[in-house]
Symmetry: C2
Subunit: 231 residues, 2 copies
């Protein structure tokens, strides 16, 4: 990837350190935006996600903004509490909201991205939500994103002044294999990313949790060698 | 005020330590909700707001949840940066967005309240926004609140399961004098609250900033003695 150009329009990109958001950032750049990644330190049980976000931003040559927002203080999810993360079953098999759901997660993240966009004077936000693999998450659905965008266009000084804010969800209809194929075409180094819900301190994946299974199946379906470091 | 009853429906109340949100909490209780105040430590230049929120919650006999969210890391406002706070002019006189505007402030606050409401199983959020004195703030307008509520009802597990979320803005059409009259009727002790943008460490007000002027004029118009401690 090339270094950011100051002449391109800035887009805030929510970067988690996972495969999806790394791809979304590459797609933002491919769409001729100057990506400004924002990572939210929302109290994950492991810091490997943030370390991965830093690696991905560094590889792209763009400054990473990290905002602390300890969602553990709100509670209510296996990702931030001590509830056991389910292994050996896909998200779809739950037939309900996954226990890894974080309360209002995307709403909080998009709100912080909205504030950052306002400060940067940016009219574009990229978020790597996906409605295919994550159909159980209400805040990954297109109708949710549309409603968020409508609200955001009433929320800010920029909106009052008539400058539209656009929320881009380039992955929303893609399968994991399609995301990996597109990211590979754009030069994303997936070895830098971490998807595992319970990666160890070195960022090595368990290979068993929902997220690991979806990721591994995605590389297989895309016929791309899986660069994930398993422990 | 009486102690909270567990049999009443829970309402999350955004509590800033100021006059408005203290009144909104009293109105939530008067509407037969069990109020659960949430204060966001968003990197104010002074901690007197949070101390005031704690006093107000204690006086009401309800547990205060404080979430750290350092909006200084986003930047862009006189309330959190080193931009000078304007003195000696009312908000209306700016004829534009006040410099005390915090980027995406209410959007971030409501998003945290939404997460807290989800964890508590609450379907109601109270926020003391006011479109009369704060007409310059885009995120204090009724159309913004309505759009937020629409989005929130698509965002959460509760929404997916058909339980509606309601955002209450009982102050939105009230003048400062009407707010003070109503709060006084409901027994709010305004001596516990802090409105000043630059209160000292003891919570004493400057008497000169926009917020102090609006507050003082409100007590005068309501014909209620001003309990504010000025320095």
């Amino acid at each position: 990837m090339n270094a950011a150009s100051p002449k391109k329009p800035i887009a805030v990109v929510l970067l988690s350190g996972g495969l999806d958001s790394a791809t979304a950032m590459a797609m933002a750049r491919d769409a001729d935006f100057d990506p400004r990644p924002l990572a939210v330190d929302y109290g994950q049980r492991h810091s490997s996600e943030l370390a991965a976000a830093a690696r991905v931003a560094k590889a792209a040559g763009v400054p990473l903004k990290v905002l602390p927002m300890d969602l553990r203080a709100i509670g209510g999810s296996a990702l931030t509490d001590d509830i056991a993360v389910p292994e050996g079953e896909s998200l779809e098999e739950h037939g309900d909201i996954p226990v890894t759901y974080v309360p209002a997660r995307n709403t909080v993240m998009l709100s912080l991205a909205l504030g950052y966009a306002e400060v940067l004077g940016a009219g574009d936000i990229f978020i790597g939500v996906n409605a295919v693999d994550y159909s159980g998450y209400p805040d990954c659905r297109p109708e949710y994103i549309e409603a968020y965008e409508t609200m955001a266009n009433l929320a800010t000084k920029a909106a009052v002044e008539g400058r539209r804010l656009k929320i881009h969800t380039p992955l929303i209809d893609l399968t994991k294999a399609e995301i990996i194929s597109e990211g590979t075409r754009l030069g994303v180094d997936y070895a830098l990313t971490v998807s595992c819900y319970q990666a160890d301190t070195d960022g090595r994946a368990c290979g068993r949790c929902d997220s690991c299974q979806i990721r591994r199946a995605g590389f297989e379906a895309a016929a791309v060698p899986d660069p994930t470091r398993y422990r």
